[in-house]
């Protein structure tokens, strides 16, 4: 209820429309003037600042531990592990979602998101080219590279 009254205050002071709430609240407006900058910044994101940086909420990591984890996931992802970047983004989804929260964790998560999109775009374009192009595009090499032929050639289905 406190939040709503502040928002009404802010909106009424911005638009200058005399509403019921504004009439009631305006006399106290000067007292609460110093609260306005904080209200303005917090209402720029659509909801309250999240308490937990991980998607598991209270079952996940605290903010201090999260920095180390986010950094490690981001670093290990460079070893050709885009899935780890994706897991990083999924795990720290509240950090991605609310742009002004958790300033220490955010660079790693945003980096993971960008890395994952770039890598998967490249991989997808190569895979689709290979699948659609077929022998017309690659010629003899297509038969050598396609997985089911490779499996037959090296007898990979008999390992286990």
């Amino acid at each position: 209820m406190m939040e709503r009254s502040r928002e009404i205050m802010e909106r009424s002071s911005e638009e200058g429309i005399p509403s019921e709430a504004a009439v009631l609240i305006n006399p106290r407006h000067d007292q609460n003037a110093n609260l306005n900058p904080i209200i303005a910044s917090s209402s720029s994101s659509s909801s309250l600042r999240p308490e937990w940086p991980t998607i598991d909420g209270p079952l996940g990591l605290s903010e201090q531990d999260s920095v180390g984890y986010a950094r490690k996931f981001f670093g290990f992802g460079f070893l050709l592990l885009p899935l780890l970047w994706a897991v990083n983004c999924y795990y720290f989804w509240p950090v991605l979602r609310h742009s002004t929260s958790f300033p220490r964790i955010r660079p790693y998560v945003v980096g993971s998101a960008i890395g994952f999109t770039v890598f998967s775009a490249m991989l997808a374009s190569w895979a689709v080219t290979f699948t659609v192009g077929g022998e017309r595009l690659f010629g003899h090499a297509w038969d050598e590279l396609v997985m089911y032929n490779v499996a037959d050639r090296y007898g990979l289905t008999g390992i286990f």
Binding site: T54, L59, L83, L145, M147, T157
Partner: protein
């Protein structure tokens, strides 16, 4: 008022907890049934595998039924003997505090299952669907999948959903591999494993019971592959529902280790006041991977049994997932009618086990009731129900 609150909260949370453990078991069974129906490798591949489970006798379709049964019995005895030996080895290692080695071994076996088994099943699927993927992309995706899986199994703090999915996937892959065994061997093996589980947990000298007692006395977690459900977030008291666990921090400094009956201490997290009765017990049964002709491959650390995890949620061993799915997968190799019957039997068995758990407050194995019910239902369906249903539908009487 408080008692009313507690009663409603038990009802409110218990159903949700049961659903949260039955859902992944059902998903695992469904995936194995789908894989078995799609891939249909019964005839060609199964005759050529050589594993610990078929070391004594290789089933031949031309043998008489009594010979097949004897051979299957021999195979199962060998398998159970190896499993017992490895479990005692596990108890020994745990006794000498080699927990790090066990953890690394767990990660390694997860990598083997996800990488090699997953890769092989992926190749089967590609061959069946003629999906034109190239080897570099496939290898990259497979490596990603396997390595992130090792992270999920290894690290304690990982997204819960991802860890749970990987546990189910490991269960599916191992169960699918087990369904490639010959038919009689599979059924006798299932019954043998159920009886072994019963003996190993309840008998005083059983390896799993020793392991549980060691873990309780040391207040430690056994490093093993276990599926842990997400704990219920109780809206009433705004904390997770806590259960009295075996490994409670006893505030009164009581150094005795109790092996029967729950400890009296209560665990409080923050302002939690909802303490209910429960159990914790973790049982481990190693799973044996396939053996090549020239040597033994390292073994998986599976787990069987029901218990409570460190967050107070229900925990089910991966070995249970695997053997339930093997049962249903084998039933799927005959017909879908047996699948439905066995699925219902297994879920009923799981429910009974949960009730017994709440009743006896002791270490209980999760395999025996479900597997024995499942096998019974399979036999009954195959002998009686199928005849009835086929006759009815062909005479256009029902269905």
């Amino acid at each position: 008022m408080d008692r009313n609150q507690r009663n409603t909260s038990i009802l409110h949370t218990l159903g949700e907890e049961i659903v949260r453990i039955i859902t992944p078991v059902s998903i695992c069974m469904l995936s194995v049934v789908i894989l078995v129906s799609i891939l249909d490798t019964d005839s060609s591949i199964s005759s050529s595998i050589s594993t610990i489970a078929t070391i004594a006798y290789t089933e031949d379709t031309s043998d008489s039924e009594w010979d097949k049964f004897k051979g299957a019995l021999l195979n199962s005895l060998v398998f159970v003997a190896v499993v017992t030996a490895v479990t005692f080895l596990l108890v020994l290692l745990f006794y000498f505090n080699c927990t790090k080695f066990l953890k690394y071994y767990m990660g390694f076996s997860a990598f083997l299952v996800l990488g090699f088994m997953g890769g092989e099943i992926g190749i089967f699927l590609i061959q069946v669907f003629k999906f034109a993927i190239d080897c570099f992309t496939y290898l990259l995706l497979l490596l990603n999948f396997a390595i992130v899986g090792v992270f999920a199994v290894f690290m304690s703090k990982f997204p819960i959903f991802v860890t749970q999915s990987y546990m189910v996937v490991i269960g599916v892959l191992t169960a699918y591999w087990f369904t490639m065994l010959p038919e009689w061997t599979t059924w006798v093996l299932l019954v043998a494993m159920a009886l072994y589980d019963l003996a190993a947990v309840l008998l005083p000298g059983g390896p799993l019971r020793l392991l549980v007692e060691l873990a309780i006395s040391r207040d430690e977690d056994i490093p093993a592959l276990v599926y842990e459900a997400r704990p219920i977030f109780d809206p009433g008291s705004n904390t997770t529902v806590q259960r009295r666990t075996w490994r409670d921090r006893d505030r009164r400094g009581n150094p005795e280790s109790q092996t029967t009956g729950p400890q009296v201490g209560s665990e409080t997290v923050g302002s939690s006041q909802n303490v209910e009765e429960g159990n914790v017990h973790e049982l481990s049964v190693p799973l044996i991977e396939r053996v090549r002709d020239h040597g033994l491959q390292p073994e998986n650390l599976g787990i069987e049994g029901i218990g409570l995890g460190s967050l107070g949620a229900i925990k089910l061993g991966l070995g249970d997932f695997i053997f339930y799915s093997v049962l249903v997968g084998r039933a799927a190799m005959y017909d879908f009618m047996t699948v439905y019957a066995c699925y219902l039997a297994i879920i009923a068995g799981l429910g009974i086990t949960l009730i017994l758990l709440a009743l006896y407050q002791k270490a209980l194995p999760a395999l025996p009731v479900s597997v024995l019910l499942g096998v019974l239902f399979y036999v009954l369906t195959r002998v009686f129900l199928e005849e009835f249903v086929v006759q009815c539908s062909s005479k256009l009487l029902m269905f």
